[in-house]
Assembly symmetry: D2
Amino acid sequence: MLLPGQIDFEGPFPKFSRRLRLGVVGGGRVSGMQATAARLSYRWDVVAGAMSSDPVRAKTAAADWFLDEDRCYTSFAEMAEVEAARDDGVDAVMITTPNHLHHDAAIAFLNKGIDVLCDKPLTNEVSEADALIEAAEKSGCVFGVSYVMSCFAVIRQARDLVASGAIGRINQIHVEFMQDWMTPDDVADAPHVKWRLDPAKSGKTSCVGDIGTHAAHLAQFVSGLAMKEVRADFHVCGAPKPLEDTAFMTTRFEGGVPGTLMCTRLAPGNRGGLRLRIFGSEGGIEWDLENSEQLKLNRFGQPDQIISRGHGHGMTTANERLVRTARGFPEGIIEAWGNLYTEFAMAVAARKDGIRAPSDWLGMPRVADGAKGVAFIEASFQSHQSGGAWVHI
Amino acid sequence: MLLPGQIDFEGPFPKFSRRLRLGVVGGGRVSGMQATAARLSYRWDVVAGAMSSDPVRAKTAAADWFLDEDRCYTSFAEMAEVEAARDDGVDAVMITTPNHLHHDAAIAFLNKGIDVLCDKPLTNEVSEADALIEAAEKSGCVFGVSYVMSCFAVIRQARDLVASGAIGRINQIHVEFMQDWMTPDDVADAPHVKWRLDPAKSGKTSCVGDIGTHAAHLAQFVSGLAMKEVRADFHVCGAPKPLEDTAFMTTRFEGGVPGTLMCTRLAPGNRGGLRLRIFGSEGGIEWDLENSEQLKLNRFGQPDQIISRGHGHGMTTANERLVRTARGFPEGIIEAWGNLYTEFAMAVAARKDGIRAPSDWLGMPRVADGAKGVAFIEASFQSHQSGGAWVHI
Amino acid sequence: MLLPGQIDFEGPFPKFSRRLRLGVVGGGRVSGMQATAARLSYRWDVVAGAMSSDPVRAKTAAADWFLDEDRCYTSFAEMAEVEAARDDGVDAVMITTPNHLHHDAAIAFLNKGIDVLCDKPLTNEVSEADALIEAAEKSGCVFGVSYVMSCFAVIRQARDLVASGAIGRINQIHVEFMQDWMTPDDVADAPHVKWRLDPAKSGKTSCVGDIGTHAAHLAQFVSGLAMKEVRADFHVCGAPKPLEDTAFMTTRFEGGVPGTLMCTRLAPGNRGGLRLRIFGSEGGIEWDLENSEQLKLNRFGQPDQIISRGHGHGMTTANERLVRTARGFPEGIIEAWGNLYTEFAMAVAARKDGIRAPSDWLGMPRVADGAKGVAFIEASFQSHQSGGAWVHI
Amino acid sequence: MLLPGQIDFEGPFPKFSRRLRLGVVGGGRVSGMQATAARLSYRWDVVAGAMSSDPVRAKTAAADWFLDEDRCYTSFAEMAEVEAARDDGVDAVMITTPNHLHHDAAIAFLNKGIDVLCDKPLTNEVSEADALIEAAEKSGCVFGVSYVMSCFAVIRQARDLVASGAIGRINQIHVEFMQDWMTPDDVADAPHVKWRLDPAKSGKTSCVGDIGTHAAHLAQFVSGLAMKEVRADFHVCGAPKPLEDTAFMTTRFEGGVPGTLMCTRLAPGNRGGLRLRIFGSEGGIEWDLENSEQLKLNRFGQPDQIISRGHGHGMTTANERLVRTARGFPEGIIEAWGNLYTEFAMAVAARKDGIRAPSDWLGMPRVADGAKGVAFIEASFQSHQSGGAWVHI
């Protein structure tokens, strides 16, 4: 495939003489999006799935996805078993089930030596997350976690700028994720929403585990600083519900750097307001998912700079590798997902080919990042429970 | 003066057969700005001042301001005494001294029956603020406080929209004031900055009393809800200093509505980021001082709306009264200051003429608003001192 | 595939029991982008190609694209011949060669009954374009043309708004396409640029035929008015070159509506400034490719409105059909390309299944639109040659 | 007055030991705005006026403006006579009458040795403009013309950047002025609009002479290149009217640099869209009156830069001289007007004091600039009359 930069990586991987085979575990729009992104990466074919435990719906899904009927399973356990035994079985699976099934599904495939890319939050319990780290290690499998925001090309550039000292010593970190889709009182009853408010499936949190964890990961990814402590208030701002729809937090990062974190699904007029701001002794950077192609960089005492994708507007060649579309034509989140699936493919191919991928090739989040996310969710929950005490993450 | 709308108010005031006479108490850029705005309002002439206790600098100021030398005083006490005795003495004074002098200066003029427009924070101590409320009442004088952000025409429109139910029941209130001028380590030593970090002059806080109080007033003014409780962390993010340069707060408004409030002077790339966001059950509004002519209104389920000054873009006639400039030509903060001085002039003229101005004429903040601001500053300080406990305001 | 809206269309097409088979005629980044978009649409597999007449490069392309070596041809004539004879031959081809080959390549496939999606400009000569209309008609084949800008969901919404009278009677139409990639003097020598400045390949124009024609199509697509006359000046603004890099035009649409059209590749700071503005007696709409998800709608006397993709921000359900990504997560041009390939797939499947697709299903531009584009290019060239006379299109 | 930078200029001018005395010739909102700006500059008092030839309205205006009744004249001839004879007569006048009176009014005051600041367009006829140049020269008076857009601090910065080679050799110049206030069909009948469409008062053009001339001046001021030729089409886009409401032009500047110029009052959603774009061999600059505090600078191959007022964001100290408001608080057009009146005051004081102001002090447009504007209007009219021929300016 002639897309720029990416061919540099094909050479070392004999496995890229073919596309890799991906299985889908979980249904709905999220898996559709990810499957599309996997296709976009040009390195994956979707060949099997466990989209529903209901045989009729599984069959329908097979037809919708153009899958062989006998590779549309009604359980992930069966899928792992059968696919592992096939010569043309899946090389890897994506897991996009409700949260409470992530652990069991992942274990089933790891046990069969099948690589995994799992949705966030990794699990509902810290202990399950730890178990997955261990299982991944034991199996030797690749285990990616879909903190997809870290796969935007400009976000990689932001991280590199901060690391290079462009904004000096970090003084403050602010991140928020504001959506508005839960504004109507009755939206909580919609079938694809219901499980997100059910503690048995969503875990101890709803909004925090869904989007707060994206915010926390992004802040740490770009700043290069680990979040160490959190103080949280959870709120139900709209119609009554069993879990929070909004949370306000103050945070402490390595070295005592203070910050704030907010997430809500009830901010009318905010479609996808994931906004990161990092301020330092010599400058600041700002990014907003709603305007995802632009990175604002301020170096104090100079004009503001707008860095954007496309050679010649401030991106390094290393990060341009993640760009598919010619300068001047907009990209969106599907390309960030595509980058995640490209890096996942590289890691999978490297493992199959017995190659050790240089660490700076791949920014893809891994199981350990997923586990840190679970710890953040747990700590914020504990803080909220205690009336807003500082809790170590 | 033919500016539209405003002439409607001239009729009832015999005192507007002449311009009113304003005295300036305090020097520096802030008083220059306000004097200019007073002139802009077309209802004031600046005729006297106590700009410096140093006789030489007072004389220079007189020349700079084209004032008669004998009306440039070296103390506000003398100024109050002499001006009150003159037939053509000042009708009112603006007070723009460092914070710790506000109380004494205001008392001096109130005691002589001279109306006052005082800078925020009103005082450094709650007890002093209470004393000013009492003194104002006893004197019968007009006592305005310069929470100027509430005098932007679109901010008045925002308040009216919220009051009319355009965004439904309020669910969350977020406000922040982010500046960057204190980013360089050495800026704290500049003469016009020094007093802002000196507890003897600035009071218990620096950043909170300077810009945090603007944020708190604006949130309450537009939402129509009083802030009841606050939880605060103060930070020194940049070079060491005796008072905070940054503060993060969570807040509770009437009816339990939760919110956040942030202020900092170390956010590189933020020149004047006073940003208000109020989210309700049916919509939201957002405003940013850096883009002060636009008010974003979302009514959930409809396209976002941008409301702007200039007939025909969503402003009511009542608020267009505050607009001077033809549609299509930008206004800035000087016009908000001008509105404050226009409303102050109306209140002063009404008092002189024995007219009772209908309450909906004037949105100008008064001494009671100033006292509430002092209580907010005190509560946030107490919360910070206690490690972040909720403190009643 | 579970992406919303799109499954509604699967039912009537037995051919969608499988993915359709696409062949690629032409190489380079443009075909890579389109192939990716075809995959994104989930209705196409890329199975064959004529990417280069050089056998070695054809082989490399086959490997890059994961194609069977025997389906990577060195001529489109051979490809048409062989693929037409295969049971699993391509259902359709995309043509992305340099302009001067479009006609011959398209004829080769039409003659074999293979559907075609051809890049713009359709041809370099009006006579060739007419020949393609005739050949398409005779063959009964589907013939799409890649004016992809008309496939953004918000552009469809813009068209519907104008048609519904939201802006009243149209008074003015302005469109411009401003890029900056040709700013450096030496860029014209780059291999992928060279043919664009070679009259033998690019035709009588370079910038006009490449991006001016996008602008002209978009203006007509959204306004619903045909462009009737044009007056043009061509310029070489940068380094000397055999064809124009910039053109300024004034235009006349049906009913005498006046307009302007500009295109240039030398506007530093403009990455992809395709900007459309249509003003009417009661309002106006504005769109900019650099901010492609937002459509500005003004209804005179009301606040400006920002219409965006995602249910509940002003898009109709009919246009939401073209949206893949959940509200709040950005889309880019790949999704517009995907929409083009989805509509092309529907048209191809309908033909194969003997179904007549209702005309309002498909906004995809067709061969007749392509021919109108060629006529526009020719007319603007004639006008330029004549020193700026009005020329009928 | 303590506003920064400006005091540097007080020293050399003995006349600034007092404020200068300004007379107003012409009524309505425009003169109100300018009078306010003159007050804002802190160097002018408004002391006399000829606001109406109707004695009753003149009296009302005197009251509105707080002027002495005996200095509110019903003719400018009388005003010139009487004021010239007074010891405390006006130092200068602003002329804001309808266009056709500019010449006679200006002559009346020049003949009495009174300095003039005249609205644009300077006159309706080229011959009258030439006569004013001559009269100004003979009288030795200061003669400013209110091309106020050139008095924004960031516009001065733009000019300096272009002059310093920041964007290389200029290749293209685009400017447009788009308003929407004339969209409603009945607005042309409003009393303050009527004269603008009456050829006897407005001259041969309406929109071009009102706002097109602003656009033409701005393009030349910032680029430093004179506009040499123009080709124009005038349009009546809305309700029928005797003069154009819209014009589209192509232009040629010194050295053959091509450009475009558009103006219209019927672009709904455009409040004050005066937009300038200059593209060169190494970069480009863009400015929009609707976002007047930001100047976009692109240097090709680098991130876009946003230059803004306020020390440390890319403005030079020389241009910061024109800034009144602290960094972070927005300015608008009143400050540009204020800058014009400041520079006019300096020129007037310099003349009175017999000082020759260094030429780089004052960017204020002069009578020669006004005459060039008249020539531009005439040339565009001739071009339109001839069906769009190139006409030399």
